[in-house]
Structure formats: C-alpha cells, structure tokens
Amino acid sequence: MAAENNLKTLEEKSIFILREANAKFKHIAALWSMGKDSTTMLALARKAFMGKIPFQVIYIDNGIDFPESYEFMEEMVKKWGLDLIIAKSNIKSELSGFSCCGANKTVALKKLMKEKRFDAIIASIRRDEHSIRAKERYFSPRDTSFKWDYKNQPAELWGNYATKIYDGSHFRVHPLLDWSESDVWRYIKKEKIPINPLYLAKDGYRYRSLGCTHCTVPIKSSASSIEGIIKELKITKTEERSGRSQDKEKAYVMEKLRSLGYM
C-alpha cells in the first residue's frame, strides 16, 4: 500500500472549508471529543485563523470517558486557549450501543443547540470511517429535529457549498471528509499535534478509536509512537471502528443514528 493522499492538498481544502464556514455562518461551534480527528480539526482551525480559534469548542460529557481523556482535555484547553463548553449528558441505563448513544450525546447536543442557537456545527467525520458517512457533504443541513434528509441533499457545485439557512435548523460542517485514518496520523506526526495518550500502546494494547469506557475495546498492539501507528495502519486488515460495539449491529443502525442527529 504505497500511494498516499497529498497532505498539503487536504490541508488547503480543510482550511478553505473552515474559513468558508466562519464567513457564511453567524454563530458556529466545533465538536471536540479529544480524539485524534477532532484534535486535528482544531489544529487546522488554528492554522486557518492565524493562531487563534474564533469559535467555541463543545465537549459532550456523559461522565464515563477515560480519565486520560479528561486530563488531555484540560491540558489542551490551557495550551490552545480553547473557549470550551461542556455539555453534560446522563447515561440512562447499562445498555450500550444504539440506545445509549442515541439517548446520550444527541440529547445533550440538542439541548445546547436550543440554548445557544448555533447555526453551524463543525464535526470531524471522515468519509472512510463508515460507509454511511461516505454520503455526507462538506456542508450538510439538519432540520430542527436534527434529521438528515439524505435523499434530498443540496447540490455542491464547484466549491459553491450550499448554505441557505432555514429557520431553526443548522448546518453540519465537515472539514475532514476527504481525510483517511492514515492521513490524520501522518498529519499529526508532521505538525506535531498533541494527542490523547490512549492511542499509544501500553502493556501490549492501545485504542485505535475512542468512545466512552462502556463501548470502547482496545486492540493488541505494540505501537507506542505515532510512527509505529502509521506503520501498523499500513498492514492492518480490520476497519478502524471494529472496537466500537455500536457498529457491530446492523449497518443501517448507523444510518438511523445519523438521521436522528447523532454525528
């Protein structure tokens, strides 16, 4: 597997999208999970806006993230001067997968949206993460109940991204849509972006994808550096999210989650 995306090209496009979002919307915010993708997105935003992120950063806290993640969060807030909003959600039951995520993060985000009236939310999803995400656009509208009308998506012509605002609804902005898992790691290495230490191997295990403590399963790995992760990715046969139990359910569950408002 030798061919790789051109990081410069990807960076240019992502920065363009971030600047475009800032130009077209009045009140934007970005979702940050302390994961590698959303942290990369923040690094790109710092570059795009000459060192200072001009929008608020939202962390949806269901109280059961890894302690390392909370520590990482505090470090980064200090280091990058993040204007952080923590939206708290409660876990209703011991269930994992669809019911849990549906009840948790989406509800907390909806509540926050109502309160703060953001007209666009930056999310760090990538097309290669899951086949459902392959259908997403750089600018994707959500109606007031967060539903995603995937069959009737607005046309994107030559970079003239659809951004007509309907009352009470909002847009999702996806600056990392064209990035692969490997692109993100190579960029992290190139730009020396700080990452959540859970991604690096400890005692023979590491996390390839990070959710909350109830749903995330570590993988066997000896990759204790970013270089090691990049090497490991080149030979791996499994998909990135195979450690996330919600994905093990039927494929269309993801579609359901998306159209209900879950990222």
């Binding site: 600047r19 086949s131 392959a134 046309a155 499994t238």
Partner: protein, 407 residues
Amino acid sequence: MDYRITLLGEKDHGKSTLLGNLLIKTGSIKRSRINSILPSSIGGKRFEPGYLLDSFKEERDRGMTIDQTSAEIIYKNNLLHMTDVPGHLELLKNMLTGASNASLGIFVVSAKMGEGFTNQSKRHLYLSNLMGIGAMLVAVNKMDMADFKEKAFIDIKKSITDYCSAAGIKSRLVFVPISAYNMENVIERAKNMQWYDGKPLMHTLLEMLEHINPGIVEQNGMRILIQDKIDDAFFGQVLYGKIKNGSDIILHPGGKKVRLFNLKKFNKVIGSSKAPSNIYFKLNPDANASRGDILYGIGEHPSAEIVFNAKIFPIKNISAYELSKSKVSFNGNYSNVAMRITGIFDITKAAKVPKRKNAAITPNYAINMAVKLAKKCPTEHFNAYPILGRFGMYSKSGILLGVGIVE
C-alpha cells in the same frame, strides 16, 4: 500520484459493479467490508460487487445507487479517488455534485441490446463536459452480453463520436470494451476480445491521467478571489497565476488600483504564492474590498461584469416563459447576484442540433441566452478561466434550476 475521477453513466449500465470489483481486485478494500456483502449476509442473492457501495439498506433492496459515493482505489502506486454517481433522471441534481469535483471521467455505457447510448447517457456526457471534465474514458460495458462482438463495440463508439461532433463536445474520448462483472479487460488483457488491440481499462486510465489534456486552454493571468474580511485583513484564494507580496493589483468590481501586502500563508509570512492556494493579506488602500471581489494583475480585467452571453443546461423541466420571468442567482464567485434573462436566442437539443422556439425546456436542452446581472460581478469566459466562468442558476426560492457557463 493522487487523482480524482468520476464514474458517469446510466443506471444499470454497470458503474457500481465496475467500482465494486475494482475495490476488491486491487486489494483496496478491507476484508470485513467484503464479508458484509457476501451472499450469506444479503439474503442469498447473487453476489453484486456494487453492493459494496450501496451503503443504504433501501438502495440495496431497490437495486440502485442514490447520491454520491466515493471510494479510493490504490493501483500501481497511485491513489485514485473514484466518485460513483447515479444515472436517474430524477437524481440529476445530485449527479452534478459528483461530476463537479473531478478532473477525468470514466463514462460507462452498456453494449447490451436494449441499453446502449441513451438520451440519459447523452445528457451525462454533455453535462460533464460543461462541468469541466475534459477527458473521458468511455468504458463500453457488458460486452459479455453482446457476445464480445467487435461490431457492438464499433456501433457504440460511432454513436458516441457522432453525438459529440453534433453537440460540440470537444472532450478527448478513449474507448475501451469491458465486462465489469467478469472483470474482462479491466485490469488484465481481454481474453475474449482478440480483435481489441488497445490496453485494458486501468492501464489506459493511468495513461490518460498522465497526459490530462482538459481541452480548456487556460490563460496566463492572475486571479485572486476574496473569501472573507477579518478585522483589517483578508482571506482569499489564488485561483490562477502567482502573486508577489507588495504587488500592485486591480480590484474588481470597480477597477481600483491597490497594493497587496503582508502576504501570509496560514501563519507564515511569505514572498509569493502560486495557484491553487489559500492566503491571508492586507490591501492598501482597503477600498472596501469584500467577499466575492476579485484581484487582477495590472493590465488585466474581467471578460464581463454585467452583461454577457451564457449557455444554460437545465436540470429540471421549465417552460421558456417561466425561465424568462424568473430571477436567478449567479453563484460563480461565492457571490449571489440576481440575474435577469434578457433574451433567449437559441435552444439546442443535447441529442440533436436543430433549433426550436417556445418549447418546454427539459434537461435534454441547452439554452443560449443573453443575461444581465443586477450588479457588477466579475466573470470570465468559461474557456479561459473555468472557475470564474461557470455558475448555478437558482429560482427565487433557492431551487437549483440549472448550471451555466459564460461564453
């Protein structure tokens, strides 16, 4: 090398099958994904590689592709970003989105009796040329259903070549006979088509990519598009040419001479920047420059700012009367400008070339018209500076009516 490619063509002609099979046979897709589409997991139906891309359950059951799907194929050290687009009339709008981000197209047309080069296929070809895809690899598919006969291939090749001459399509076309389902002549040389002396599809594709000749001759001027103003500085994109820090430039609309300084690339001070590039800069004097304005090199100017001729390709049915009465938005330079159609002087059917006045305009037609903008907006001839010479045409309520180019 990185390339962007669009797969175009009518539904059921085999685009998804081609892409699905390529993903599998080049090893570009992970095992777990392939396993999810094996017959046991899809209710025992025949194995269809196209299922890999039909990630929506409904799509799978209906046997069609909705909207745009992209996949990456790794082939001989190249990363090919392939975008599969649907071929249904009612999904034409979404197809425009798929075509617009690509530099080369693979046009899949079926050689099977009863399928072939249809009106919908003609429309795809015409539109993609309009959208800037200059070179097209025409994959004449389902050759197995035509008994691998050379005549079937030659007939389709002739239909398409004749149509392109008549419709004024200047794209470079290269024809390759294949069977996507059997992977005949896709990666390896054709076994069943000894009469074919060309290379297999993937080899041909790489050759074409290396010599992309878009058929659009770009000029040597400089164009910087202003994206946003922040405090006393600007974000912009160098669309064409090169800018040096400290240069005098002309701001349009208006034609005022200003100096560009404090040029930065993200957070770094730089001496110059070449297209394509996102930059930060200041202007002296500021001249109230704003989003949508364009910076030109000294001695250069827009082809048109208020009045110009355009060719429009509608994406839905509209009557000529409706069209001439509607106010539409010119969106070509990140600016929305109201546009009034001052004259329709030619309607050209995408299938043939005769003129017909007072016809209901369907997506089979291209319309030549005279246009007047509500305010000055710098535009360029599409053939010179395509990014600044093309636009989306919208109704008052924001529905996309068609796409157009400045002639």
